[in-house]
């Protein structure tokens, strides 16, 4: 056996290559920064802290959802029920806050979110229904129960002090953003330091291999969806903090938006790879574009068209260089 260690030139070359490769992994981050600089220079009122704080605050909710979505996407699935769970969480929290107490409302909402996640995970892992059908069905189910329970009426009467959770700031930083940062950090730590995180990548990379290697694939999937449900419930509570009413019909666009954030951030839906910063980056990219278009005053008719085009170009540049690189 020839040890390669002797060949220090090779190792140096290896390192340079590594650096180059990781540089191009950050292509999207670079595009994001360039976009940001462009907006700062040319979009009036963009480069103010007040505006940044607004953007952070309003995108924190979807960011929290995206963190959970990332976990599920890395295992090779996704969750279409996060919107329903968010709505449920905000309605349940509102109802209990009005009728009983604030802590109970929040805790109950989070536990319910966790429970829906467990149900999702159970059907996906144990019964073997695919994530699309499962989470679409639970989405519809949960929404249905919400409508039945509320007769589609929003729940009013949450004390105004509760809005501090959605609109308040600590120093200059919006509270939702602090929650988002906490959730992102937890997600990062899970992926980085726990056995669960390790298993999530292996399960997403090759389920058969994971199973044969002795990993309890079902439990990993179940836990992941449970976390996804929990995070969606957290987002729902923050939403309640913003709107102060528990609306059964809200949050319908969360699933697609959160998946979009993760995927725009560069994570493939095929599973096995993905980092928290992709979810964060994707969320901010979409959020900043929407904000800039509002500030520029692009007509609401044009906004979707421009958004679509910007996403295609930004992600296109990233994907194109990736594809070139893959051609080896």
């Amino acid at each position: 056996m020839t040890p390669v260690d002797g060949d220090s030139a090779a190792i140096r070359r290896e390192k340079a290559a590594w650096r180059w490769a990781s540089l191009s992994t950050y292509a999207l981050a670079i595009i994001f920064v360039l976009l940001l600089i462009g907006f700062c220079l040319w979009v009036p009122h963009f480069a103010t802290w007040a505006n940044f704080a607004n953007v952070l605050q309003r995108n924190s909710i979807i960011g929290i959802v995206a963190c959970g979505m990332l976990l599920m996407i890395v295992t090779g699935g996704f969750d279409l029920s996060v919107g329903a769970v968010g709505a449920m969480s905000s309605v349940v929290a509102a109802a209990l806050i009005v009728q009983v107490s604030m802590p109970l409302g929040i805790v109950a909402a989070l536990l319910l979110g966790l429970a829906v996640g467990v149900v999702n995970g159970f059907f996906i892992a144990k019964i073997g229904i695919n994530p699309f059908v499962t989470t679409l069905a639970t989405q519809v189910l949960v929404t249905g129960f919400l409508f039945v329970g509320t007769a589609a009426q929003p729940v009013y009467g949450v004390p105004e002090s509760f809005t501090v959770l959605g609109l308040g700031r600590i120093g200059p930083i919006p509270i939702p953003t602090i929650i988002f940062a906490a959730v992102a950090t937890v997600t990062w730590a899970i992926l980085r330091f726990t056995t669960l995180g390790h298993y999530i990548y292996i399960v997403g990379g090759n389920k058969t291999a994971a199973r044969l290697a002795g990993i309890n694939v079902d439990r990993v999937i179940l836990t992941t969806y449970a976390l996804g449900g929990l995070f969606a419930a957290i987002a729902g509570v923050v939403l309640l903090g913003q709107t102060n009413i528990g609306q059964p019909a809200s949050a319908a666009d969360w699933p697609l938006t959160a998946i979009a954030a993760v995927v725009v951030g560069g994570v493939p839906l095929s599973g096995g790879v993905g980092q928290v910063w992709s979810a964060v980056l994707g969320t901010l990219l979409l959020g900043v574009i929407a904000n800039a278009l509002n500030l520029i005053g692009v007509s609401p008719f044009w906004q979707p068209a421009v958004t679509g085009a910007v996403i295609l170009v930004a992600v296109g540049l990233d994907s194109y260089q990736r594809k070139q690189r893959e051609l080896r």
């Binding site: 590594w18 056995t195 994971a210 002795g214 096995g272 051609l327």
Partner: protein, 501 residues
């Protein structure tokens, strides 16, 4: 000259893997390409197959310079390649896979004549003397049959250059001989130029007109096949004397009185004849059989990945409700035969794969991983199994075939099992590394593990095992102490039909 490749260079995001390789092939010649794992053999052939648009150097076919930018460019010029990692479509039938990309057209333009496709594929297989279930989806075949499917596919094309990247790594002796006969015939009768990559140096020597030896992305030398011995080849391709390490460090040889590591009683899959097997601690048992004899199924049934009746005891403890996770907890691990489909998470790093089975048990408290010990274990295994490049963060999908195989074994060993079931453990591993792997397997046995080795490489079985059991058509048909066996008698036992054992 049919093919000339001159000064071929190829790098992956900056790392040079081919450093100016020259290679040539004559019509009607069998030209062997040998080299250690990661030497760059597959990469060179992938250049020839048009996989990489960005190689440097010159490729001449019939003296005419060509630029191979896409697989189609190569195919059109009559280059057929059997890739090391299967390139089959799992849900298509065997017949359809054989015809992949060259489906016979139907009477209406744009349609396919499926009837003719099936007949043609069947004929092509028969012409080569290979029996395959034409209508079975490939996903249901064992790796041996999959390999044969690939061989039929490549050999039935109208080829001028045929590249075979380790076709025999997962073939049993009978199939090998069949393949060699086919190769000789194609070379002699159809003047096909054949590039043959293998780690079985005696085969290479027997078969090849010329041999090219590669090391670290460069050619060491090219010479006539007859001018080498196995030892001289081994020395050239590894770069130093390995003869010493080729010899066993002293066989495991469990004492007869040693406690049982594995005890299987009446294990029956789908109502087939029950199987009994017992392995003592420190014992290495070989499991021999023909392609499709059911060895892989048995191994999977052991760990509970396939439903079965019967009792399995690991280290004296009865395993209730068998499944792979429990098996791992009981200390029974399996390395699957198909490293790509069911062995490794290809998108994850070497480190993540190595620690996958050990993580929960050895490297974490309350679900939190100790990053230090994880890295230490990975580095230790990378060193022990000589995985290269020795980078723990390298994505497994980017490793050479042999190195990926080592990762798979390292994963099993790292979890410190009581029983290891190794399905084709050294498929695609080079001669130097194979000796190392064998030593690692023996080491594990010496440390008290019971080991079951499934292999189509009879020399490996004879070399490694203390005892060999034979399986035919899903049943155990014999058990032999090593001293009772020769290559020939083992072969005879494998081919015997059940009932007559």
């Amino acid at each position: 000259m049919l093919l000339e490749m001159r000064d071929i260079r190829k790098s992956f995001s900056g790392v040079q893997v081919l450093r100016g390789v020259d290679f040539s092939l004559k019509a009607g010649e069998i030209h062997a390409l040998v080299g250690h794992n990661g030497a760059g053999k597959s990469t060179l052939m992938k250049v020839l197959g048009g996989n990489y648009a960005d190689y440097d150097g010159e490729v001449r076919l019939d003296g005419e310079e060509v630029r191979l930018g896409a697989p189609r460019d190569a195919l059109q010029r009559g280059v057929a390649i059997i890739y090391q990692d299967f390139s089959l479509v799992p849900d298509l039938t065997v017949a359809e896979n054989i015809a992949l990309g060259r489906e016979p057209r139907g009477r209406l333009s744009g349609t396919i004549a499926y009837g003719r496709l099936r007949d043609r594929s069947k004929q092509e297989a028969e012409r080569l003397g290979i029996a395959l279930p034409m209508d079975m989806p490939v996903r249901r075949l064992g790796v041996g049959a999959q390999q044969m499917t690939e061989i039929v596919r490549a050999c039935s094309q109208d080829v001028r250059i045929l590249v075979m990247d380790e076709p025999t790594a997962r073939l049993a002796p009978a199939e090998r001989e069949l393949l060699f006969a086919t190769m000789r015939r194609m070379a002699a009768e159809q003047q096909v130029g054949i590039v043959y990559i293998s780690h079985f140096l005696d085969e290479v020597r027997r078969l090849a007109d010329r041999i090219t030896i590669m090391r670290d992305g460069a050619v060491v030398e090219t010479g006539a096949g007859s001018s080498y011995t196995v030892d001289s080849l081994a020395k050239l391709l590894v770069g130093h004397e390995i003869v010493a390490s080729l010899r066993p460090t002293q066989a495991g040889g469990a004492a007869d009185g040693a406690r049982e590591a594995l005890n299987v009683r009446g294990l029956s899959i789908h109502g087939r004849p029950p199987i009994d097997l017992s392995i003592r601690r420190g014992e290495i048992v070989g499991l021999a059989g023909l392609v499709g004899s059911g060895r892989t199924r048995f191994a999977r049934a052991l760990i509970g990945d396939v439903r079965s009746a019967g009792r399995v005891e690991v280290g004296g403890r009865l395993m209730k409700r068998r499944n792979p996770e429990r098996a791992t907890r009981y200390g029974l691990v399996l390395t699957p035969e198909d490293r790509k489909a069911s062995g490794l998470a290809l998108t994850s790093s070497v480190e993540a794969n190595i620690v996958a089975s050990a993580l929960g048990k050895l490297l974490a408290t309350a679900g939190i991983v100790h990053p230090g010990s994880r890295a230490r274990m990975a580095l230790d295994m990378i060193q022990r199994f000589a995985i290269r490049p020795p980078a723990r963060k390298k994505i497994v999908g980017q490793l050479s075939g042999g190195n990926a195989q080592k990762v798979l074994l390292a994963r099993a060993v790292a979890s410190r099992p009581k029983v290891m079931v190794l399905d084709q453990p050294t498929a695609g591993v080079d001669i130097g590394a194979k000796a190392e792997l064998h030593n690692q397997i023996r080491l594990a046995a010496q440390q008290g593990a019971g080991i079951l080795v499934i292999s189509d490489d009879l020399d490996e079985l004879l070399d490694l095992s203390d005892r060999i059991v034979v399986m035919t058509a899903g049943a155990m048909s014999g058990s032999f102490r090593k001293a009772e066996l020769t290559r020939a008698s083992l072969l005879a036992n494998m081919s015997r039909l059940p009932g007559r054992a």
